[in-house]
């Protein structure tokens, strides 16, 4: 094959460096269809069902004492668990990213455990420990300590399922950042706490906030583990997700979907926050890049 025929051959056949248009559009349409079918349509159904009997029925079912109690309990659970998982997550990430010790990989696996265990199991272990027939059950009832089928049990079960969120977010981040800046601060005479608050925390704050956000969403939405330990007492140990199930089972579809709309709104708020966080993070990174040059 001589040189001239080779070039004409190349010219006759267009070089394709990207997929043809129809592939691109087909992929976009398919993605949109899946999102529409599995995300937007159910979300729309929630709203349609919630407002099926009008605004008055909607607000009445949300201001029912049982619904209010469920929301209050859900908030309480989140308010208690999120700070605890945050503290735990930061300490765990600090220990894993900064120190080398035996059994480190085992510890990382253990932190991931709640992700791989079904939430129902998470609930059942507390029944086995604190139930009246469980290990600590008789001790708890003798001392009049209520854990199972009460708020402490619900908080424990939620803690179990949420505690990897912050740690998982921070560990890779802190490993990536490394500890040169912290060593510099320490060698300049900063105390451990000063280094932590002035150097470490600002470095990981976006990851931390992200983890807190996800943890909060899960804490408010958890169903399985909480369902096992709750005892389903209306107005007392029903969280919002449990209240939704109860209302649905009582043919109170407006009440059930009104509750669902609150959780859906929470999801949307979480997404908006997450987007804002990522946007801010990018802006800051860009600013820093400008300052460096």
């Amino acid at each position: 094959m001589n040189a001239i025929s080779a070039t004409s051959f190349l010219a006759s056949k267009k070089l394709t460096l990207s997929d043809p248009d129809w592939v691109r559009y087909a992929l976009i349409v398919a993605t949109l269809a899946v999102i529409g079918l599995f995300l937007l349509l159910p979300l729309l159904t929630v709203l349609i069902e919630a407002f099926a009997k009008g605004w008055d029925a909607y607000s009445a079912s949300l201001s029912h004492p049982d619904a209010l109690a469920a929301m209050r309990l859900t908030l309480l659970v989140a308010v208690v668990t999120v700070p605890l998982t945050t503290v735990f997550g930061v300490s765990a990430a600090w220990a894993i990213a900064r120190f080398d010790f035996r059994g480190k990989s085992l510890l990382i696996t253990l932190i991931d455990l709640p992700f791989s265990v079904s939430p129902v199991i998470a609930g059942l272990i507390y029944v086995l420990i604190f139930g009246a027939q469980g290990w600590l059950g008789s001790w708890a009832s003798e001392h009049d300590i209520k854990i199972l089928f009460a708020v402490p049990g619900i908080i424990l079960a939620t803690l179990f399922v949420t505690f990897p969120f912050v740690a998982r977010e921070l560990i890779p981040l802190m490993q990536e950042i490394g500890h040169e800046e912290e060593e510099a601060a320490l060698s300049l005479g900063a105390s451990g706490w000063q280094t932590f608050f002035k150097i470490t925390l600002p470095n990981v704050k976006w990851g931390l906030l992200n983890g807190v956000l996800l943890c909060n969403a899960r804490a408010m939405g958890e169903f399985g583990a909480v369902s096992v330990v709750s005892g389903h007492i209306r107005g007392l140990t029903n969280t919002l997700p449990l209240h939704i199930e109860v209302s649905y089972n009582e043919y109170d579809f407006v009440g059930s979907f009104a509750g669902a709309s609150i959780l859906a709104a929470l999801a949307v708020v979480t997404l908006v926050f997450k987007t804002v966080l990522e946007w801010k993070q990018k802006q800051e990174a860009a600013k820093q890049a400008v300052e460096v040059h």
């Binding site: 109690a69 309990l73 199972l148």
Partner: protein, 334 residues
């Protein structure tokens, strides 16, 4: 970073929570099974009024509902029920045996074997009964899709199963024939929900199945909630008497200081008000003379047998049929 704000929130929420629990003087917890929600919503209001008039005390009644088996388990595991109002006496026997928080002779303490109301098992079919279901043998026919919950977890499901078994034994003459018959019925079951209400949802909301085997009260409630247009109740000529007992959980009620309240609560179920409400919510009252005659007219007459008559009591029925390796395990392969 401010750490004081979350702390304040925690304290605030804790304060809120404790304040709500301190509002009423005493709170009674009634742990019940699935289909009684509507009955007890009504009854609790009446009881609170009655108690206020009688003693001047403000009380609250809290409800917990779920599949009967699951609720029993929760009480055994420490859910502090002052009273239990469950689907069958075997479940309360289990509480007495395993948790030892009420005496084993509990059933003799209240009138009529601790049964303020009873029910039975009927069929709910789609409009105009397209599969022409009239009796238990129709459920075993090919091409009929049957909805019933899981007898391992649901009290109602155990009644459904035993009613079908008794029909088989009586009409085909032997235990073996009954086993074959029940096996054919369960071959027609596409999904076993864990509780009666779950099965109703499967049948009505998801539109699965030709016939739902269910509590009479649950069938009436479904008609009332869904409008009578789409469904019909079919009453078989013979069915099982569903004995749904109530009792005080002595140890818990003593500990919470609610013993007198719990006893009064259950006695009130036998009062004219309680009996009228039971009939209103489609339960068959033990003293029909107190109920509204219009409500009573809704209950069709049929031949009823009890678990004691048909199976020699719940303990035996449970052991033969529902324990691991029993007849149900032998006939049902998912």
């Amino acid at each position: 970073m401010k750490f004081t704000t979350p702390l304040k929130l925690v304290l605030f929420s804790l304060a809120l929570l404790s304040s709500t629990t301190a509002l009423a003087d005493r709170t009674l917890l009634n742990v019940s099974y699935d289909p009684t929600r509507e009955l007890y919503q009504d009854f609790n209001n009446e009881f609170i009024k009655y108690w206020k008039e009688k003693t001047g005390e403000d009380v609250k009644v809290q409800q917990s509902h779920g599949g009967a088996g699951k609720q029993t388990r929760a009480v055994i595991d420490g859910l502090e029920a002052d009273v239990v109002t469950l689907a069958l006496s075997y479940d309360i026997d289990q509480i007495a045996k395993k948790a030892r928080i009420l005496p084993e002779n509990w059933q003799s303490r209240l009138p009529n074997n601790s049964l303020p109301y009873t029910s039975t098992i009927v069929f709910l079919v789609r409009k105009d009964n397209p599969k022409a279901i009239k009796n238990w043998d129709d459920l075993a026919k090919a091409g009929v899709s049957v909805i019933t919950p899981n007898p391992k977890t649901s009290g109602g499901a155990r009644y459904n199963y035993l009613a079908a078994w008794a029909f088989g034994e009586k009409n085909y003459g032997s235990k073996e024939a009954a086993k074959d018959f029940v096996q054919k019925v369960y071959k027609n079951v596409p999904v076993l929900d864990s509780g009666a209400r779950g099965s109703t949802t499967t049948f009505i909301q998801r539109g699965i199945g030709d016939v739902l085997i269910t509590w009479e009260n649950e069938a009436f409630l479904a008609l009332k909630e869904q409008g009578t247009g789409g469904y019909e109740i079919i009453v078989p000529p013979v069915s099982i008497k569903a004995e749904t007992p109530v009792t005080v959980v002595d140890k818990v009620a003593k500990k919470t200081g609610n013993l007198d309240l719990a006893e009064a609560y259950l006695h009130y179920l036998y009062s004219p008000v309680g009996q009228r409400l039971a009939a209103k919510h489609f339960y068959r009252p033990s003293q029909p003379e107190h109920a509204d005659p219009e409500d009573l007219k809704r209950f069709p007459k049929l031949e009823l047998f009890t678990v004691n008559e048909g199976f020699g009591g719940w303990a035996k029925a449970q052991k033969d049929h529902f324990d691991d390796g029993g007849y149900f395990d032998q006939i049902y392969a998912p």
